[in-house]
């Protein structure tokens, strides 16, 4: 047993701790009172409290200067709606498009695909000002539809490029066999191509969801209190009387939860894809 072998578990633990510790600490903080958070030296042992969560859920924040009404739960709901809505729209548009790019060779195909990808290259700030003006004119400002539409700039290229790769890797012979059995082009797409690309679709959808969820700038500039997601809503915790770390920590934990649940749910489909790929004649 070489010395490296013995050291390995310790090194791995060290790296793991380095990356996970901040998250771990935030979760701990969400159960601490303000005094516990500021105690010096910081301690892992404390009396846990649910008051931070209670404050968030009820909407009443206790600050030094009195109660502040914060609508964090509504922000959570908005985030869910916007992220889920964007991903669903992107899937409906992107998966068939990815199939078309993968299977059919048509003129300007690569050009169009690249153009769609280029949306990811541009920093959002570049398009924000003109978009703001259009949104006001079209009445899309502060609407769910407007934001979901803008979020396509983030989610659609992702879905397109990841799923296209999966369709390209999938065996065309299997689809050909299904058509020879007598099924139409559409049935083949629905019953064979999509199920076989499921891991790619799941991975792309999950990534797109995360990116949409984390978006800050579009929601800030093109929306207001009605559609505010948690990214913007967290700003409210920075009050004149100071920052309530306990409540922010609780807010953070709540904002991580939906994405975490989704990731755990789709994990099954991601792993499945790896074993299907091992089929060889």
């Amino acid at each position: 047993m070489s010395p490296f072998r013995l050291l390995r578990p310790f090194l791995l633990l060290l790296v793991g701790l380095f990356f996970l510790f901040p998250i771990f600490w935030v979760v701990l903080m969400s159960f601490m009172t303000d005094q516990a958070i500021f105690s010096s030296p910081p301690s892992l042992f404390f009396k846990p409290t649910l008051q931070n969560y209670a404050a968030l859920i009820s909407g009443h924040l206790e600050t030094g200067t009195g109660t502040l009404d914060v609508d964090y739960m509504r922000n959570l709901g908005n985030s869910l709606l916007l992220a889920a809505g964007s991903v669903i729209v992107s899937l409906l548009l992107g998966v068939p498009a990815a199939y078309a790019f993968a299977r059919f060779k048509f003129r300007l195909g690569e050009n169009i695909a690249f153009t769609l990808l280029s949306f990811r290259f541009a920093p959002p700030l570049l398009v924000l000002l003109p978009l703001q003006i259009y949104f006001q004119d079209l009445g899309l400002y502060d609407t769910y539809g407007g934001l979901i539409w803008v979020y396509q700039l983030i989610t659609l290229p992702l879905i397109l490029w990841i799923v296209r790769g999966y369709f390209e890797d999938a065996s065309e012979d299997i689809e050909a066999a299904y058509r020879l059995d007598g099924h139409s082009w559409f049935k083949t797409f629905w019953r064979i191509a999509i199920p076989l690309a499921r891991p790619g679709i799941a991975a792309a959808a999950l990534l797109a969801f995360i990116f949409a969820w984390n978006n800050f700038i579009f929601a800030l500039i093109l929306g207001s209190s009605a559609v505010q997601p948690v990214t913007v809503g967290a700003l409210a915790f920075i009050t004149a009387s100071g920052i309530h770390y306990g409540q922010i920590a609780a807010a953070l934990v709540l904002s991580i939860l939906p994405t975490l649940v989704l990731a755990l749910y789709t994990q099954r489909y991601l792993v499945e894809g790896l074993s299907l790929g091992a089929v060889k004649g």
Binding site: S171, A176, A177, L180, H183, I192, P195, A278, V279, G281
Partner: protein, 356 residues
């Protein structure tokens, strides 16, 4: 009018040609073996018939009706792929039932037909397995069952036995003709194994250089190959192609091989003197003797290779030329003498490779 007609079919991929003007007429109920080296266009031919690709030029007709522009699901054609192409997320039963579902057969009928074909192909005990739980042989039989279950008029098989172990391949080779006949299908069978082609084909179509080089019964191909490449491809050990010069001599023609001058009876006499050719002699037509034969030089035995019925002997002549002979009773000596029966030999023009 033949049942399947291919009329001057051509197909290229970019600048690379796959088929360059192929015409074929296939009779109903016939099994046509399509034979040729890799890359010559055999698979492309099947895919054109299946409708997975459209030809650049030419016409494809089944029963007199042109199939150009007809999508695969509307052609009455079934196909078994080389790499099986089973649906990995469906059970073997569902795989086989797929063509019947497309025709919206009722459940009971479907179960019955799937059951019949499965028991015929001896996979009825694994019908509820997913493809990844099946052995290669079972996968191949499931793919075959799927193509046979609707008793197709036209059956296309793209080297279906290629990815199966040698042992299983032999067994399947015996079963396939019986299956085709049972369902009355007209079959096109692509293979690179000449034995498969001879065993399964009523006729064999040989593709070389992306074109149809010869079409005939196994006997015609084996005994009268049109091209020296065809002759070499059909036979194991392969035919000897001995370069020699045909000379006119006293009203007939002779050729000199390994120091022997042999008369060519019933052969065309070269107009000018001297005609460079390749004399094709099959190893089994070489007579060996451990006793000297008058007027011939001995051969040295270089290597022996046992086969199932015969043994192949690699012989080296005094001038360095090689000769392969095959015999059921390999002699024990290191030095041998050989006699050739030119009656069964085939002559090829040395420059073009075409048979004379």
């Amino acid at each position: 009018m033949a049942f399947i007609e291919l009329d001057d079919i051509a197909k290229s991929f970019g600048s690379k040609p796959a088929l360059d003007g192929v015409s074929l007429a296939i009779e109903r109920g016939e099994t046509l073996a399509v034979f040729g080296p890799s890359g010559v266009g055999k698979t492309v031919l099947l895919r054109l018939l299946a409708g997975i690709m459209e030809p650049d030029r030419g016409d494809i007709r089944i029963g007199g009706a042109s199939l150009l522009g007809v999508p695969p699901e509307r052609r009455e054609v079934a196909m078994a792929f080389q790499n099986f192409a089973l649906y990995p997320h469906l059970t073997a039963f569902e795989n086989i039932a797929s063509p019947l579902r497309a025709r919206q057969l009722d459940e009971t009928q479907m179960k019955r037909r799937v059951g019949e074909i499965a028991s015929l192909l001896r996979i009825d005990h694994v019908l509820d397995h997913l493809p990844r739980a099946l052995s290669n042989g079972q996968k191949q039989r499931t793919a075959l069952a799927r193509s046979l279950v609707r008793a197709p008029a036209v059956l296309l098989l793209d080297d279906p036995l290629r990815n199966v172990d040698a042992k299983l391949r032999y067994e399947m080779r015996l079963e396939l003709p019986r299956l085709f006949k049972r369902f009355g299908s007209t079959a096109l069978y692509v293979t690179q194994d000449y034995r498969e082609a001879m065993a399964l084909g009523d006729r064999i179509a040989i593709l070389l250089d992306h074109r149809l080089r010869q079409l005939g019964t196994p006997a015609e191909i084996y005994n009268h190959p049109a091209d020296q490449r065809v002759a070499r491809l059909f036979g194991d050990p392969p035919i000897n192609l001995l370069p020699a010069r045909v000379e006119a001599s006293g009203g007939g023609a002779t050729v000199r091989l390994f120091g022997q001058t042999l008369a060519l009876r019933h052969r065309p006499v070269p107009a000018a003197s001297g005609w460079d050719c390749l004399v094709g002699i099959r190893p089994e037509d070489v007579e060996l003797s451990s006793e000297p034969i008058d007027g011939t030089a001995p051969f040295r035995l270089r290597a022996t290779t046992p086969f199932s019925v015969r043994t192949a002997l690699l012989l080296a002549g005094a001038d360095g030329g090689e000769l392969i002979a095959s015999t059921t009773n390999p002699p024990a000596a290191e030095t041998l003498w050989a006699r050739f029966d030119l009656g069964r030999a085939v002559l090829f023009d040395a420059a073009t490779g075409t048979a004379l």
